[in-house]
Amino acid sequence: MRSEPVVQVQALVKRYGTKTAVDGLDLVARAGVTAVLGPNGAGKTTTVETCEGYRKPDSGTVRVLGLDPVRQAGELRPRIGVMLQSGGVYSGARAEEMLRHVAKLHAHPLDVDALVERLGLGSCGRTTYRRLSGGQQQRLALAMAVVGRPELVFLDEPTAGLDPQARRATWDLVRDLRADGVSVILTTHFMDEAEQLADDVAIIDAGRVIAQGSPEELCRGGAENTLRFTGRPGLDLASLLKALPADSAVAELTPGSYRVVGKVDPQLLATVTSWCAQHGVMPDRISVERHTLEDVFLELTGKELRS
């Protein structure tokens, strides 16, 4: 059963001066965790901030929980939680003080003490925000996004700059939110984050969604898989290619290092190994590689994700 979309973006265009940040973007996010993946400058933050009601679309429509984020802001805001990419706290406020304050703006907030303990903010004590570490500031911003018991949480680069332990703590909280029925939209430029957390991934480049689906679908769909092996240099690849299905490709990347690209299945693996046997080749280090989101991104855009 597909639930109602929590976010629906249609043909969104947003320009800053002459620069087009978002260029006809379509995105549907349903319950669960949706990752908006893309390199810096792809339009992730602009898209999310339009959903949060900060920016007015130049054209196109945006609906969040069925509401217009600009015109129905008063109705929408209590229902969403927002984690900005940075800042958002009085420089003279203490972590717990600020979190308690945000809790007071909501009717049924989470237990602040429990949240402070869970995110390890208790050690911040009486330290004011400007003296907190980057990781502590990030965790406070995350806590502020969830303390009001929202239906939908927007997290803009929630783990950027976090150490591995804090990163895992953030992931765990996102999983718990999802398990309790909170929908999450997060932007990231980490593939592993999207692969680990997301039910659905939207890949954005140059202000458009260029692919969307579950991590599995994206890695499978359309993308060819790769088989690599090493053997003696200078093998006759023409005869190998003849033995393989029509849409395959073979290349010797460096002397003795071969790559077969195609629909990698047991049949193809058997074809390659029997061809090797016929030619007296011992295929050292034979390996089948699954596509990662990074490969998908590279294929779709010709760019590295973390450029």
Binding site: R30, A31, Y54, P78, L84, S91, A179, D180
Partner: protein, 260 residues
């Protein structure tokens, strides 16, 4: 996909805004705490007005005309206190809140923007009450003998607060935080000297005096002095000047304020 039911239920959505009065009260309390915790702000709002009142009352540096110096100085210092909180302090604090995304983050909270502005005003008024109480006690200790109607004084203080708030927010909402910091302090200093706070305006040349008399700080200090020192009725001229500044300042702030 629906995942409800597999979790512990701790984070199960239960959204809702707190009642408006509670949100505004919480916001005003936080803003006031931030202000009282900030050393630079206290210097501006408490230490400088107090020092000026005590120093110039005790030592005969400026010719304050007939009568006790404190009777001339106390109204001027009260005007300065209003300016320091409603204009300088509010401009600097709001400028940095804008710079550090505090205004942006709060804009995504259930607290409406007008609620935030109301809370800021409440925080300014609370601070002013503390200032007025402190400065009044000190002035009495220095032998102050005020006249006039307290209601007229209150009206002047409120209109002065509105005028300075509008100008402070206009500055905070349009300039960079550093520029606001510099400009707000500079304006504070200039108006302290040229606004009839401790230096009587009749010490200036005629042409300058007429122009300076139109400044909000001059109107406020002159109006307060008319009532508190000379026991005058309602100083309509000064109230009028303050009203014009208040309307113009708040309208411009409303039009040009940028939240990010």
């Amino acid at each position: 996909m629906t995942a409800t039911g597999t979790g512990t239920g701790k984070y199960t959505p239960k959204p809702g805004a707190a009642p408006l009065p509670r949100m505004i009260a919480a916001q005003a309390a936080l803003e006031t705490r931030m202000l009282l915790r900030n050393g630079e702000q206290l210097l501006l709002t408490v230490v400088i007005p107090t020092l000026l009142l005590v120093l110039f009352s005790a030592v005969d540096i400026v010719d304050t005309g007939e009568g006790k110096a404190v009777d001339f100085l106390a109204p001027g210092v009260l005007a300065l206190a209003v300016m320091s909180t409603a204009f300088t302090g509010q401009a600097i604090a709001t400028g940095f809140e804008r710079r550090y995304g505090v205004l942006k983050r709060l804009a995504a909270s259930p607290l409406p923007r007008w609620g935030l502005m109301t809370a800021k005003t409440v925080s300014v008024l609370v601070t002013e009450v503390l200032q007025v109480v402190l400065l009044t006690v000190i002035a009495f200790a220095l032998g102050w003998s005020p006249h006039g109607s307290p209601l007229t004084v209150l009206l002047l203080l409120l209109l002065g607060t509105a005028a300075f708030s509008g100008l402070g927010l206009l500055m905070a909402g349009t300039l960079k935080a550093e520029a606001t910091l510099a400009a707000a302090n500079l304006v504070f200093l200039l108006l302290l000297v040229g606004g009839g706070v401790i230096v009587p305006l009749d010490k200036f040349p005629d042409a300058a005096r007429d122009a300076l008399g139109l400044l909000p700080i001059s109107a406020l200090s002159d109006g307060l002095r008319d009532v508190l020192q000379h026991g005058a009725g309602v100083p309509w001229g000064d109230l009028g000047i303050l009203a014009v500044w208040a309307v113009a300042g708040l309208a411009a702030a409303g039009k040009f304020f940028r939240w990010e």
